[in-house]
C-alpha cells in the first residue's frame, strides 16, 4: 500500500484516530483504575488501622482491669508493707501468671523498682516508664507502649492503694514478632511496630524480614500518616497509627500486590485494544478500498479522456456521492464526445467545401474521407481564363479589376457546383476544374463540356458590358482527359486537393491556345462527346511540353436537343 495514496492516507488517518482514542482511553482508564485500586488499598489500610487501634485499646483496657484487680490484692499490699522484697517479687511472679502478663513490676512512690516478677531487682533501678507513674499520680489512666530492655511492651501503671498509694504496680504484655504475625493473620497486612528510643528508630516487632525492617527503621519519616515507602523488597503503601508516646504501628501492603488486580485489568484492556486495532485495520482497509476504487476508476477515466478517448465510460456501482460523481463524469464525457463529433464534422465540411459543391461536400463529410487519399484515376480537366486580362489589369483601375474578377468568379463558381465539378483552384482570371473525382460519375467529359459551354455563354454575356466600355476581353478554355494522380497536397492547415499529371498540362496548353470564345478539347474528350456537340477539327497542334503534335477540336456549341442530358 503506497503511503501517499489516498487509500493509504485514509487507512493511516483511520488507524491514527483509533490508536489515539484507544491510547487516551487506556491512559484515562488506567489512571482511574490505579487510583481506584490505590484508594481501595488505602481505605483497607485505614479500616485496618481503625480496627487495629480499637483492638489495641481493648487489650489495654483488659490489661488495666487485670492490673487493677491485682493491685487490690491484700496479700500483695501486706507483702509490700512489710518491705520483704523477695516475697513481693514472688507474689508478683504468681500474680503475673494469673493474668498472663509478660511483665509485672512494683515501683516505690519515688519511682524506683522495688520488685520485678522476672527476678530480684537491683536496688535503686529507676522505673523504665516514669511518665506513666506521673500519669497515674495525677489520677489518669496510665498506659503506653514502651520499650523495656529492648522488648516492646504494652504497659499500664496503677497505684497500690492501702488505701492511699503505697507503691506503683506496672503490668505489661509483650509485643513481639509473634504478636505482629498474629495481627498479620487477622488483617492480611504487614504489621510493624516502630519506636523512637534514645534518638534512634527501632523496629522491635514486625512481620517484615530483616532488610525491609532495617529500611523501614531508616526511612520512616516522622509525622508521616500514610503514603508510599520504598523498602528493600519494593514499594509499600503504608498507614501509620500512633500506639504510644514514642511508638507507632505501621500497616503496609506491597504496592505491586495491591495493584496486581488492576494490572490484570489493564492487561485485558490492552488485549481488547489490540484486537480492536486489528479489526479497525481491516475495517479501514475495506472502507478505504471502497472509497478509493471508484476514485481511481474516475482518475483512470479522466486520463483516457485527456488522451482523447471520448468513448470512456466509468462504471461505479455504488449509489452514493461517488456514484453520482461517476454519473456526472460520464455525462460530461458524453457531452465532450458529442461536441467533438460536431466539431470534426464541421471542420471536415468546411474543408470539403473548398473543393466540392456543397452538396458533394456534405455527402463526403457524411461518408469517409478516404476518398480524398492520394490515388490515380482518369479524369477530365477543364482550364479556362480571360483573354486580354493582363492588358486590362495594367490599364484599368485596381477597383475595376477586382470588380471584374468578382463578377467573373460569381458567374463561373455556381456552374462548377451545378455540374458537380471539383474546383481545383482559382488563379486570378484562371480556373481549373476536373470531373470524375473524388466521386466518380458516368459522363465526366460530357459534364465538362456542358459546363464549359455554359461558362462561355455566361462569361460572354458578362464580357459584353466590359467590351462596350472599351476593354478587349475574351474567354478561352481547354479540356483534356487522362490519368492523373489526385489527393491532398500541402501541409496541415493549408491543404489542397490537387490533380497532377499530363492531362492537367494538356488542358492548360489547350486553354492557352484557345481564342476568345473557343473551347479546345483533346481527341479523347471529343470522342466522348462527339454526339453532343458541334465541333471542328483543328489539325494537330504543336504544344510546348508535348513531343508530338496534338489533335484538337474546337467545340462550337451543343447540338440542339442535347442542352441538358
Amino acid at each position: 500500500m503506497h503511503f501517499r495514496s489516498f487509500r493509504g492516507r485514509l487507512v493511516v488517518v483511520f488507524l491514527g484516530l483509533f490508536v489515539l482514542i484507544q491510547a487516551v482511553g487506556y491512559l484515562v482508564v488506567g489512571a482511574f483504575v490505579r487510583a481506584s485500586a490505590r484508594h481501595t488499598v488505602e481505605e483497607e489500610l485505614r479500616l485496618a488501622s481503625v480496627l487495629f487501634t480499637r483492638q489495641l485499646a481493648v487489650r489495654t483496657q483488659q490489661l488495666v482491669t487485670a492490673t487493677r484487680l491485682l493491685s487490690g490484692d491484700f496479700a500483695l499490699k501486706a507483702a509490700v508493707a512489710t518491705a520483704d522484697h523477695a516475697t513481693t517479687a514472688s507474689v508478683l511472679d504468681n500474680h503475673g501468671r494469673r493474668v498472663d502478663a509478660d511483665l509485672l513490676l512494683l515501683a516505690s512512690l519515688d519511682g524506683a523498682v522495688i520488685a520485678d516478677m522476672r527476678g530480684p531487682a537491683r536496688p535503686g533501678t529507676p522505673f523504665p516508664a516514669p511518665r506513666l507513674i506521673a500519669e497515674a499520680e495525677a489520677g489518669r489512666e496510665a498506659s503506653d507502649v514502651v520499650v523495656i530492655d529492648g522488648r516492646l511492651h504494652q504497659l499500664t501503671v496503677v497505684p497500690l492503694l492501702a488505701p492511699e498509694p503505697i507503691a506503683w504496680l506496672a503490668a505489661g504484655f509483650a509485643i513481639d514478632d509473634r504478636t505482629a504475625a498474629d495481627l498479620r493473620r487477622l488483617s492480611g497486612l504487614h504489621v510493624s511496630f516502630v519506636a523512637r528510643q534514645d534518638g534512634r528508630t527501632v523496629v522491635p516487632a514486625s512481620t517484615l524480614d530483616g532488610a525491609d525492617r532495617e529500611a523501614l527503621a531508616r526511612q520512616l519519616p516522622e509525622g508521616r500518616k500514610a503514603g508510599v515507602l520504598q523498602l528493600a523488597s519494593g514499594e509499600h503503601l503504608l498507614r501509620v497509627e500512633p500506639v504510644g508516646q514514642n511508638v507507632v504501628v505501621v500497616l503496609q501492603e506491597p504496592l505491586a500486590e495491591a495493584l496486581a488486580p488492576s494490572q490484570r485489568l489493564l492487561w485485558i484492556l490492552l488485549a481488547v485494544a489490540a484486537a480492536g486495532l486489528v479489526l479497525a485495520l481491516l475495517g479501514a482497509v475495506l472502507v478505504a478500498r471502497r472509497v478509493s476504487r471508484p476514485v481511481m476508476a474516475l482518475a483512470a477515466g479522466a486520463r483516457r479522456v485527456a488522451a482523447g478517448d471520448f468513448g470512456t465510460e466509468v462504471v461505479v456501482p455504488q449509489r452514493d456521492e461517488l456514484g453520482e460523481l461517476a454519473d456526472r463524469f460520464n455525462e460530461m464525457v458524453g457531452g465532450l464526445r458529442e461536441h467533438e463529433r460536431v466539431r470534426n464534422e464541421l471542420e471536415r465540411t468546411t474543408r470539403l467545401k473548398r473543393f466540392f459543391s456543397p452538396h458533394l461536400a456534405d455527402a463526403l463529410s457524411a461518408g469517409d474521407e478516404s476518398l480524398l487519399a492520394s490515388h490515380r484515376r482518369e479524369i477530365t480537366v477543364v482550364f479556362c481564363d480571360l483573354r486580354g486580362f493582363t492588358a486590362f489589369a495594367e490599364a484599368a483601375d485596381p477597383e475595376e479589376v477586382m470588380q471584374l474578377l468578382d463578377a467573373y468568379h460569381a458567374a463561373i463558381g455556381p456552374l462548377v457546383f451545378e455540374y458537380e465539378g471539383t474546383l481545383e483552384r482559382f488563379t486570378g482570371d484562371g480556373c481549373m476544374v476536373f470531373f470524375n473525382d473524388p466521386v466518380p460519375c458516368p459522363d465526366p467529359a460530357a459534364r465538362a463540356v456542358r459546363m464549359t459551354v455554359a461558362m462561355r455563354d455566361t462569361v460572354g454575356r458578362l464580357l459584353q458590358g466590359w467590351r462596350s466600355r472599351g476593354h478587349a476581353l475574351g474567354f478561352g478554355s481547354g479540356i483534356a482527359m487522362g490519368y492523373a494522380t489526385i489527393g491532398r497536397i500541402g501541409f496541415e492547415g493549408r491543404l489542397d486537393y490537387a490533380a497532377i499529371g499530363t492531362v492537367t498540362n494538356l488542358s492548360a496548353r489547350l486553354c492557352g491556345e484557345a481564342q476568345d470564345g473557343q473551347i479546345l478539347v483533346s481527341q479523347p474528350v471529343h470522342a466522348e462527346v462527339e454526339r453532343l456537340v458541334e465541333a471542328t477539327p483543328m489539325g494537330p497542334l504543336a504544344l510546348r511540353g508535348f513531343a508530338k503534335p496534338v489533335v484538337v477540336y474546337d467545340v462550337a456549341g451543343l447540338r440542339a436537343g442535347s442542352v441538358r442530358p
Partner: protein, 222 residues
Amino acid sequence: MTRWRALAGIVAVALLAAHDSPALSAAGALEATVKDDRGAPVADAIVSLTPTGAAAVAPHAATAVMDQQNKEFVPQVLPVPVGTAVTFPNRDNIRHHVYSFSAPKRFELPLYIGTPAAPVVFDKPGVVVLGCNIHDWMVGYVYVVPTPYFGRTAADGRVNLADVPPGAYEARVWHPRMRGEPDKTGKPATITAGEPAQLAFVLTLKPERRAPPRPSYEAPQS
C-alpha cells in the same frame, strides 16, 4: 454532723487533760492560721503544740472512737495524743476489714461486725492511714500527736489553742493532702499568759485524689 460531734468530744478530752496539769497556773493560747500556697484558707488542718525542753508533758492515756458508718470512716480524720486507745465500732450491718500499713501503727481487724473487743492503742506519733480491705473507697486517718495541745482549723483556716501552759513549744501542722512530712513544718512558739501567740502556716496541698469509685447505689448519706 456526727463527725463534728465526735471531734468536739476528743478536743474536750484533750482540754480536760490540760486542765488537770498541776503546772498550770495561768494558761496561755495560740492563734494559728493555715493557708495554702495560693493564699486560700485551709480547713481541717490539725495544728499541734509540742513542748520543747525537759518539761515534756507525758501524754495521758485516753480513748477515742473511729466509727465505720455507712461504709465510711467517721470521722475521716481523728487526731489523738500518743497512747490513745481507739475503738473501731462497726455501725453497718455488713462486715468491715480495717487495716493500716502505716509505720506508726500496723494493724488489721479482719472482717468483723460490731465493736472489736480490744481497742487499738496508738503509741507512736505519726500519720496512720486506715483502709478497709473490702471497700476501696474507705479512707480514714488517725493522726497521733505527742502532745495534748492540738486543734483543727475552721473553714476560715483559723484555729485557737487555749489553756496552753506558758512555755516553749514547737508548733506543727498536718493535713491529709499536704505535701511533705508534718515533722518538717515545726515552728518554735512561745506561749505566755496574756496575749495569745500568733502563727501562720502555709501548706502545699496535693490535688484531691480520686479515690476508687464508690458504687452509685452506695451514695453516702448525710
